[in-house]
Structure formats: C-alpha cells, structure tokens
Amino acid sequence: MHRIRSAGSCATARGGEVTAIPAVDPASGLNQINVDSIGPKVGERFPDLTLPDQLGTVVDLHEQRGARRAIVVFHRSADW
C-alpha cells in the first residue's frame, strides 16, 4: 500500500478570514506565501481593469461583468 502525502497546498482567504497556513507546503516543499498580503483583498471591490482581449477589443472588466458575479484568474502565458 502506497503512502499518501497530505496536500495543504491550498491557501485561501474567504470572507476576510485566512485559513491557517503551514510554514512549508507539504505537496511542493515550497515556503507558503501570505495570501492575504498579495494583491487585492477579500472584502474590497476588485480594482478597475482595462485590457485588450484575444480579438484586440479593449475590455473594461467591471463593465463587461455588468451585474454578474465573476471569476478572474491570473495565469502564466497561454503560450506555454
């Protein structure tokens, strides 16, 4: 029977609370980062953002979103 390694790789902030973050991420061995201190904070309005999309159309995020809820992901190059 193989040993299972527990993850704990997910650091999340929800509704202003930050879940406990172990000092080292067991899944990757990397030092944990302080989620709360990086970028916009839970409870704040997401900043205005205007950038071109894949068709070259300039998109204003909140305007495009309208009154809908949204998922915004930041990722490395789509080229990789």
Binding site: A7, C10, L30, E44, Q54, V73
Partner: protein, 267 residues
C-alpha cells in the same frame, strides 16, 4: 489546464457567471490559444505586466518555484503574476481569493461554482457510490469522471446518521472515535482532510470533559489534486466513526467507497 476547464465547466454553460483570464501575452498569442481550445470568455493581455504589477500580483517568488520544478529562471519569467483566482460578487467585491504556491495547481471552475452556490456539490455527479452500516450511511461522489492533472477538485461525502444516534467530532476525549475521512490512493494523489462541522456540545452523565456531536445529515468536502504522472486512478475513501445514542454506543466502525477516475492527461 485551468483555462480549458473553466470554459467547459463555467463559460459554456453558466453565462450568469462572468469569466476573465489575465496573462502577459500579446493579442496574437491569446487569439491562437482561444481558437485552438474554443475559449469564448475574455483572455486579457497585459503586455509588459503593468496591470499585474499595479495590482501587486507580480510573482516575486518565481525563482524558488521554478527551482522546485527543476528549472532555471529566465527573463521570460519576470512579469509573471501569482497564480491567483478571484471570485467577485454582483457588486464586484472580492468574496474569495485563492493563490496557489505553484502555477500548475489550480482550483476547478466546478469547485468555484459550488462555492458560488450556482450548483449543488453532487449535482450531475458522474462518479457516485454509497455504503452503509448500522446507524450510518455514506454517499460519496466526484463531479467529473475525468480529472485535469494538478487541478484541485473535490470528493464530496454525505453521511446520514440514524435518528437517535450521533457521531463525535473534535475536540473529543481520546477514548471516543472521532469522525474522520481519509483517502487511500497511490503516490501523487494529494488531499486535505475535510473541514468538520463544530457539532453541538454534549455532556455524558458521570464523565468529565466536553463532547461535540453531530446528528442527522453531515456534508463534507475533501480537496484533491493529482500529479500528471498518475494516470487513471481509483480513490478509496474511508469514513471512520463511532455512533452512540443517549445511553449506549455501537462499536467503532468504518465504511469504504471506491471512486474510479480517468486522467485527461497533460494538455
């Protein structure tokens, strides 16, 4: 890959939830990707990473992360954002923020839809099974039979506890078997223990100490992500517990449920 999974799970079927992706790619690269994978939501190109930087999301930990994956850091890697996922409410306020330690390990769109209460955790579950013993029945499921390597999906479980019985949850004295859920699977399968409910306080006549118990229906969720080398795999979920009534206990017991999954492979 998260961008493709978001298209399949969210953008293609739930247009009440807006989806946006931000990278530092120029338009032509984003167009190629969108065409190849049928992406209909905006892929936004922050060439020069100005916005990424202004938002405070430029990944300064990238050197350490790449060293972990056995790679050097070149100029191509400066300007990368942290692998962040934000969930916004109707007013654009951030209600959830997830930043993984590695770009490869990302939450699924499905799990975000569940957090947004757009979809129930077991809705349309493709892999689902049940087991029961005296006093307790367990149903466990995974929404999709296919998993994307490195994406964090959820194993859901619902326990139905017979009337008049309760199970123990921490903190509870050692001699009692607390409810635990665990997964047996090969190396490369990573999971976190589920968050257990606090339960209600319970005293036992003649015994010191605080007991916390749960009754009726309990729903739990185990986050799982699987390395790309694992391939097709069966997750074996074990639930361990001890059911007691007001005045007596059944023996500690366990139930096991097998959940077979297929890998989408490397994209």
């Amino acid at each position: 890959m998260q961008l493709v999974e978001l298209q399949e799970t969210v953008a293609s079927s739930h247009d009440t939830i807006a989806v946006f992706a931000v990278s530092y790619d120029p338009v032509v690269v984003l167009r190629t990707f969108a065409d190849e994978h049928g992406i209909t939501y905006p892929l936004l190109g922050d060439v020069g990473s100005t916005v990424i930087n202004d938002l405070g999301l430029r990944n300064v930990d990238i050197v350490e992360e790449r060293a972990y994956w056995g790679r050097e850091t070149t100029e191509r890697h400066t300007g990368l954002p942290y692998p962040a996922t934000f969930v916004l409410d109707e007013d654009g306020v951030i209600v959830e923020k997830i930043i993984e330690r590695s770009h490869r390990i990302r939450p699924t769109g499905r799990s975000l839809l569940e957090d947004l209460a757009v979809i129930a955790p077991d809705d349309g579950a493709q892999v689902i099974a049940s087991a029961e013993t005296d006093g307790v029945a367990v149903t466990a499921w995974v929404a999709s039979r296919d998993y994307f390597p490195n994406q964090i999906f959820r194993v859901g479980a619902r326990l139905a506890i017979a009337d008049g019985l309760h199970l123990y949850v921490p903190p509870t004295p050692d001699s009692y078997t607390n409810l635990t859920l665990s997964i047996d699977a090969p190396d490369g399968v990573y999971w976190d223990p589920p968050e257990l409910p606090e339960g209600s306080q319970f005293s036992i006549a003649g015994l010191d100490g605080e007991f916390h118990v749960v009754e009726g229906m309990v729903e739990l969720s185990i986050p799982v992500h699987i390395h790309e080398d694992v391939g097709d795999v069966t997750l074996s979920l074990a639930a361990r517990f001890q059911a007691c009534s007001e005045d007596s206990c059944l023996i500690p017991d366990a139930l096991r449920i097998e959940l077979p999954l297929v890998s989408r492979g490397k994209l």
